[in-house]
Symmetry: C2
Subunit: 534 residues, 2 copies
């Protein structure tokens, strides 16, 4: 028996298009790959996560009707498709097996994740039993994503007679996730001695990247097939009864390369799926925008990307030189628009009101906001997506100007801590040198005041980043972080900045999640809060 793994990258919410794509993929798997059964990702028909679209009766009706439409749409191959199954007033996260007009089985997901980025209990009722069907003489059990991460459900399937498991997934990427995923699932498979076919969605969906890397495990718990990471792919694995035969295993990327590919895919899909003409960004000569430019070009091609230099009196010559050098190296069109006329205008307009007050961050923010106005005007005029270039360290401590450098439709490196920004820049240069060396080696600066560097306001990044990881991602207390060897002043400074900058994060554009806890749907903090981590 040949089973096809459909690692697809569909547009979320477009059920009609997804039906066509399912049919096309199934016919391809049957005709070109000789498959007798094809497995699609979790909630294939809607895409994942469809969020509150799942509360719309018209949307749910369309998805349920699509199953009827699919039932006899493709001959000679069985389709395993995920959909939000409506039964009375209950909605289930289900997988249906369609074969020649007959529904062979329909399984309702039992383990509904409701943590991190997952809100499945907001939408779905849980199923309460395994579902095993016979196909070509083999008893096959159905499972969906979270089911195979929890103890018990795989064993339950075996008890119910399953000899082979199919798992439909929408398992989002974060750094190192693929190893964790394979390790957990392989160990469960090994314990239960039942082979498993794991099909994952691929593609970017707002904050989330689905990395694909679908795989097949034999009953010894060994991966005998693996599809590519970050790519759409329909592949096939041959089985002897319930036993998968060894096939190709796509090699796993190094973690840094994985992170880079995730960011590239995230930009590419956000631009493509939202119908933008391309992307633009402010190129400062600093490391953050340098990395985002390289990512954008790798995602979209140089002809779709535009860089804007917006120097001020505080911009050093080397910033301009390095920005132009990178744009040229990447073959990207660039414009230079000095911000001085607008800054002067605003300072004049506010002179009377601000008379007698000292200069403070207000004046710095005006500069950043003038840049925001220029970039948004170009974005509006040209239909290009404005990429904002802030990193996770800045987002954490609020070292960014709301409506200024935070302006933009998408924030590619919002979940990338500063130290990782450097590593990714070096990684990119190791593929081909595009980011000038000086951008990597000079001390980072916002260039909003004379001789300003980030360390004037923040602990050094090699101390700040690990403190932030502990506080933001691991929920450690100040006490624990200090006990781990960080200085009380640095910890206090970092934590108090994180605590009081939630309001900025709430208005930041979505960005690509690559850590186990990103800002956004993943970390839901109140703005109004008397909690003080320090």
């Amino acid at each position: 028996m040949k089973i096809a793994l459909a690692q697809t990258n569909f547009l979320l919410g477009n059920i009609a298009a997804n039906v066509k794509n399912i049919i096309k993929a199934s016919e391809y798997a049957r005709d070109e790959l000789g498959a007798e059964l094809i497995v699609f990702p979790e909630l294939t028909l809607t895409g994942y996560p469809a969020e509150d679209l799942l509360l719309r009766p018209d949307f749910i009706a369309a998805a349920n009707n699509a199953v009827y439409q699919l039932a006899d749409a493709v001959d000679g191959i069985a389709l395993v498709v995920g959909f939000p199954e409506l039964d009375g007033d209950k909605l289930y996260n289900s997988a249906v097996v369609l074969h020649g007009g007959v529904t062979l089985a329909c399984y309702r997901k039992r383990a509904l994740p409701n943590y991190g980025v997952f809100d499945e209990q907001r939408y779905f009722a849980a199923g309460d039993q395994p579902c095993v069907f016979e196909f070509n003489g083999t008893f096959i059990g159905l499972t969906i994503c979270e089911d195979v991460w929890r103890p018990g459900i795989i064993a339950d399937n075996k008890k119910a007679g399953a000899e082979l498991l199919l798992t439909l997934n929408a398992s989002p990427f974060n750094s190192g996730k693929i190893h964790q995923r394979e390790a957990i699932i392989c160990s469960q498979v090994k314990a239960a001695e039942i082979p498993l076919v794991y099909v994952n969605q691929v593609g970017g969906q707002d904050e989330l990247i689905f990395d694909g890397a679908s795989f097949v495990v034999n009953q010894q718990g060994e991966v005998v097939f693996r599809a590519a990471e970050f790519k759409e792919q329909i592949s096939v694995v041959e089985f002897d009864g319930n036993q998968p035969l060894s096939s190709t295993c796509a090699p796993l990327y190094q973690e840094i390369s994985s992170d880079y590919q995730a960011l590239v895919l995230g930009i590419k899909d956000y631009v493509r799926k939202n119908g933008f003409q391309g992307a633009l960004l402010g190129l400062s000569g600093g490391i953050d925008s340098a990395l985002v430019l390289a990512l954008a070009v790798d995602a979209l091609g140089a002809d779709k990307v535009e860089a804007v230099l917006m120097p001020s009196q505080y911009t050093q010559d080397m910033s301009i030189e390095d920005a132009i050098m990178e744009a040229d190296a990447l073959g990207v069109k660039h414009h230079t628009i000095p911000i001085e006329p607008a800054v002067t205008a605003f300072n004049g307009m506010l002179a009377e009101l601000f008379a007698g007050t000292a200069k403070d961050t207000t004046e710095e923010n005006i500069q950043a906001r003038c840049r925001g106005v220029i970039l948004m005007a170009i974005s509006n005029k040209q239909g290009k997506l404005l990429l904002t270039t802030g990193n996770k360290s800045e987002m954490s401590v609020g070292y960014a100007t709301l409506y200024g450098d935070m302006a933009g439709g998408f924030a590619p490196i919002k979940d990338v801590p500063k130290l990782l920004v450097y590593q990714l820049a070096k990684y990119r240069n190791s593929v081909s040198p595009v980011i000038p060396e000086r951008v990597i080696t000079r001390p980072p600066s916002a260039e909003l005041a004379p001789d300003q560097i980030d360390e004037d306001s923040l602990p050094p990044y090699d101390l700040l980043d690990p403190i932030l990881e502990r506080y933001v991602e691991l929920d450690q207390s100040a006490e624990q972080i200090i006990a781990a060897g960080f200085s009380p002043e640095h910890v206090a400074r970092a934590i108090s900045l994180v605590d009081r900058n939630e309001y900025k994060r709430r208005q930041s554009p979505p960005g690509i999640r690559i850590t186990p806890r990103a800002f956004g749907r993943d970390r839901r903090y109140p703005i109004t809060s008397g909690y003080r981590g320090i």
Copy 2:
């Protein structure tokens, strides 16, 4: 027996302060009101909703330690306090009864809402049994919020021997909610024939307003006591055994007045709890900013509010006249800063790049964004909260400029549809006339282009608002809305605008929820989406 209802307005997350406030309220109830038992709202110690603070071990430990601290802190009165109870690796939404150093009972909430603005299954495990304790010879059952909205749990308590029910709540306001709340709970109480004491939190917490209006129902299902709406209040009700004696019932506000009070409280608490020096806003002479100014003054006092007029060449004289007239009527300081110098600067800076292109919304957005820069500069310099003045109709269809008129820390009327904006303005003028009549009667305009009015771009509001309510709040399909009598063109225009403007809403500031479905935590839509309502 006298039972006190502590309708408190605590700062979320500040456990140490909340402990002190609980002690203070309990001593007051004992000494001044003669109460023997005092009931606090749901999750008293942390405030509600504490969101992902509940995932922090240090925060949970502090809340659990606070219970020990409270246990013998107040003599001579029993305290019923809500807290997140940690047991092993499980967290419960619990209510504990503390009396003279002894824990009389501890109840774990059984019905955990996970819809709308509620995410309780993200944090809590559900309890599975009623909890009845004896106090002064009466058997008292404990319940928490959602428990008494669902059939079964009240009856369960009665079966378990309860003669009187206490309910700890954090029940957020929306228009008409108080009637719905009392109707549902009274009918359940009547069916079960068991008196009930309902204590609700009061105050603003980011998007949510808790309206208080705590009440006591006798076993005939009649409200025999009601605390004020939208006010902190500690009150007492006398019981004969389990039977509450009739007491004062605060009259219910008219719905329009309730909506107004909710908005006032929302502004007041956001400013106060976040430590702002006051508030400012751009006053255009239009109805939206006129209403927000009145609300802000009613919330904070005229001396804490500042209005900024920012006319352009498209601003009509009557706009300036009306804006100044209102500011004067309310006694609010105002400044006038024409935006022309900045607009001219930007147009000049972009002239080369935009040469040969036609004027479009880009140029309109530049004007709006210049205003955003000015207002944010004043906000930054003075430590005042910038109130943004967009209404729900605009938020729905994206008739607003990101980083322009959408700039601000808080959006008081973000959930108020345009027609309700007019009603609220008239209501405010009925109390005392502050909004010039012409602001209410002239056709609404963004004044970003010559002779522009909203109806050039949008269906008339008396058609748009009901379409939006059906699509956004009621999840109706285009087909259903057209079948209800709306023109297909208007429906198509409205829905397509809603669908494609999710990206703007995602970056909008938080605002006060007054409808059954607000934008924000209440309506979670993907940006990247192939779903088209039309």
